[in-house]
């Protein structure tokens, strides 16, 4: 018996949640493009609606193809289950709306994707959910920001824009000390680089649009529950999370934490959040993301290998003022990265070009392989120049406040030949240098 355990990551990436289709024998996961599922009889229908039996009713709530994706991502993360959503933003919204409402408060890392910052700072505040932003490495600030109405601590494994590594063991310990869960956006790292649940996180979400899909073809998100946070105990101790520990009139008076000791959060998220907000994933999107996940281990290894070569090249180039990659000793999160991200720090990073905003534009426009667009985590290499795109309305002082210079360039390193990527960058840097002459 000793030695027997769950399969390894690569095996789960191919098999978790899927088996040959019992109806047809199809080996690959079928795409179940159907809105609804026929009931066996009236009693079966009633028992499905009352959660006396498990099964599919309507594809906004659940779908067999989506369920394979959900189980697979949960397996890779080491979680108890997952919910596929229309986008990563929808996954973040679903996580928050399941346990927070008007009068609730969130403590969040300030090093966030702009879309997440918008949701927390502007949009959710319109609905009465307030957020305090703290620097991810300032544990005293995290602690000081917690209030009686706080419901959640939130951060990214690798924060935007500087790739601050979230100290998940420390922040999760603080959260648990206060009877709170830690939610982590794991988009940049994927479970291949880090499993946040192993370090104490309670909930994880991904923009599956990025590395999980990996091919720049689909928008989607996945919200995963570790099953480790005891919502009933937190309610008993602190009075929080009545949403899960008390009867919910919106679903048969169900007490979700009684129905499932470790799946209460996902039960409510699906039975309320997907049902009422409706940000579900198309089964076709789920299938595309599953295709991507099957090669996730191979792709992530290559992403990291290529990135290390590109980082090394850029760090030694005279036109580059600095490179912000946590594997470099100069990066403020270097020590934490060595501990939490031994397989690598992903393939998205920024570097600062010496020179003017115009030189940055010249650099971008000279690139042939890198695509200039607003996405990351594609198999193709991508580039964006924040000062002339996402942050173009800011003057230099405002850019500095945001941690961006006129020459900051963000790269997402793909799967091409590393030598070709370096040649492309070398040529574009030469042209940028000439543009400043």
């Amino acid at each position: 018996m000793p030695g027997h355990s769950d399969p390894g990551f690569d095996t789960l990436a191919l098999h978790a949640g899927a088996a040959p289709d019992p109806a047809t024998g199809a080996r690959a996961v079928p795409i179940h493009l159907t809105t609804s599922f026929v009931f066996e009889n009236s009693e079966h229908a009633a028992s499905l609606f009352n959660m006396e039996r498990a099964g599919h009713v309507y594809s906004r709530i659940s779908n067999p193809t989506n369920a394979v994706l959900e189980e697979r991502v949960a397996a890779l993360e080491g979680g108890a289950g997952a919910i596929a959503t229309a986008s990563g933003q929808a996954a973040l919204h679903l996580a928050i709306s399941t346990i927070a409402g008007a009068g609730s408060h969130i403590v969040s890392s300030s090093a966030l994707y702009g879309g997440s910052h918008n949701l927390l700072h502007y949009t959710l505040s319109r609905f009465g959910i307030e957020t305090t932003f703290v620097k991810p490495g300032d544990i005293d600030a995290w602690r000081a920001a917690i209030r009686p109405n706080t419901k959640l601590l939130f951060g990214e494994t690798l924060g935007n824009p500087g790739l601050d590594v979230l100290d998940i063991p420390t922040v999760s310990a603080l959260a648990h000390e206060h009877g709170l869960p830690l939610l982590v956006d794991s988009t940049f790292t994927t479970p291949w680089l880090m499993k946040p649940f192993d370090h104490g996180a309670d909930l994880v979400f991904h923009s599956a649009t990025k590395f999980l899909s990996g091919h720049g073809t689909v928008i989607g998100g996945v919200l995963v529950d570790s099953g480790q946070f005891d919502w009933a105990a937190a309610f008993a101790a602190h009075g929080r999370f009545a949403e899960l520990a008390q009867p919910y009139e919106g679903f048969h008076g169900m007490v979700f934490a009684e129905e499932s000791s470790v799946g209460a959060f996902l039960l409510r998220a699906r039975r309320e959040g997907l049902r009422d907000f409706g940000a579900c994933m198309s089964p076709h999107s789920a299938w595309l993301i599953l295709q991507g996940i099957e090669t996730l281990p191979l792709r992530m290894a290559r992403h990291v290998e290529n990135t290390r070569k590109v980082v090394q090249f850029l760090a030694a180039h005279s036109m580059v003022a600095s490179v912000g990659y946590p594997e470099l000793e100069s990066h403020p999160s270097h020590a934490l990265a060595k501990r939490l991200l031994p397989r690598g720090c992903g393939s998205i990073f920024s570097f600062d070009l010496r020179g003017s905003r115009q030189q940055g534009v010249a650099f971008i426009e000279a690139l042939k392989i890198f695509s200039h667009l607003a996405n990351v985590g594609d198999c193709r290499s991508l580039v964006i120049h924040p000062a002339s795109t996402t942050h173009f309305r800011m003057d230099d002082a405002a850019l500095a406040q945001a941690g961006i210079t006129a020459g900051t360039i963000r790269l997402s390193i793909g799967l091409e030949d590393a030598d070709d990527l370096i040649d492309d960058l070398k040529r574009a840097l030469k042209i940028a240098e000439k543009a400043g002459a």
Partner: protein, 267 residues
């Protein structure tokens, strides 16, 4: 629902999403080692909404029930019968899984007039645990949880998942066992529960005392309690055997098939 049992030792039993009515035909569900009531909730909910009073208990020291864990199958059976008294239940069908099936058997033997049915799910007798697994459960319970979890599931894709689509059964069961283990600060509950299973030697004598109809519900791919290991106790009970396409975690892997078997057994 919380059952008034002893004021200083609260006992929890899931009643299927309805107020418990002791006047209805009662079914008591008893979970296995390092589990709690939540392994039964779909089935318990179905029976509660189809004319039964249901008590899916958390055994002492497991889940929401406090107190030290019972030291033996016999002690747990006595505890269960006392619980029925506290809940105002005169007679009940006893349905147990794994370790819980031994407790159901022993309770049906100790109070044969009170057991209307005996259903042993995922069972074996004797329920011997290998020395290596006992040692691992003592020395490295989290490792033992992973081992048992891997042994308890028959594949990577039991559908439609429990308690619903999107649940990863391996991960959910591991999280449950870790949660229940962590709930007992002073006792290595996993080692204790396995020891209770391993030590129980009264199964055949108990079977001779049982008067109600008996049923075995077995997972045809069960590696923890293989169907052949239940043959002797099944014969002693003259039990009807139902097999379902699952491993040891058969309520999670095949909830509809287990429901069908229980409907036959309890009809």
């Amino acid at each position: 629902m919380d059952v008034v049992f002893r004021a200083d030792l609260p006992v929890y039993a899931y009643a299927g999403g309805k107020p418990f009515d002791p006047a209805l035909p009662c079914i008591v569900f008893i979970h296995g080692a390092l589990n709690d009531h939540s392994v039964w909730t779909l089935l318990a909910r179905w029976f509660a909404h189809h004319g039964h009073g249901v008590l899916a208990v958390d055994l002492p020291g497991h889940g929401r029930s406090s107190g030290p864990p019972q030291a033996s199958v016999e002690a747990a059976a006595d505890w269960l019968l006392a619980l029925l008294d506290a809940a105002g239940v005169a007679k009940a069908a006893l349905v147990g899984h794994s370790m819980g099936s031994l407790i159901a058997l022993e309770a049906a033997a100790r109070a044969p007039e009170r057991a209307t049915r005996l259903v042993m799910v995922g069972t074996a007798y004797p329920m011997k645990v290998s020395d290596s697994l006992l040692d691992t459960s003592r020395d490295d319970p989290l490792r033992a949880i992973d081992m048992v979890n891997a042994f308890s599931h028959s594949g990577f894709a039991a559908k439609p998942s429990y308690p619903g689509p999107g649940a990863w059964l391996h991960g959910a069961d591991r999280a449950l066992m870790r949660r229940v283990q962590a709930g007992q600060k002073g006792v290595n509950l996993f080692h204790h529960d396995f020891g209770v299973c391993n030590a129980y030697a009264g199964g055949l004598q108990a079977a001779a005392q049982v008067r109600c109809a008996s049923h075995l519900v077995l997972g045809e791919r069960d590696q923890m309690t293989a169907p052949k290991q239940a043959r002797e106790i099944g014969q002693a009970l003259r039990a009807t055997v139902h097999t379902v396409p699952a491993g040891h975690a058969l309520m999670a892997e095949a909830p509809d098939a287990v429901l069908a078997a229980l409907r036959k057994a309890l009809s």
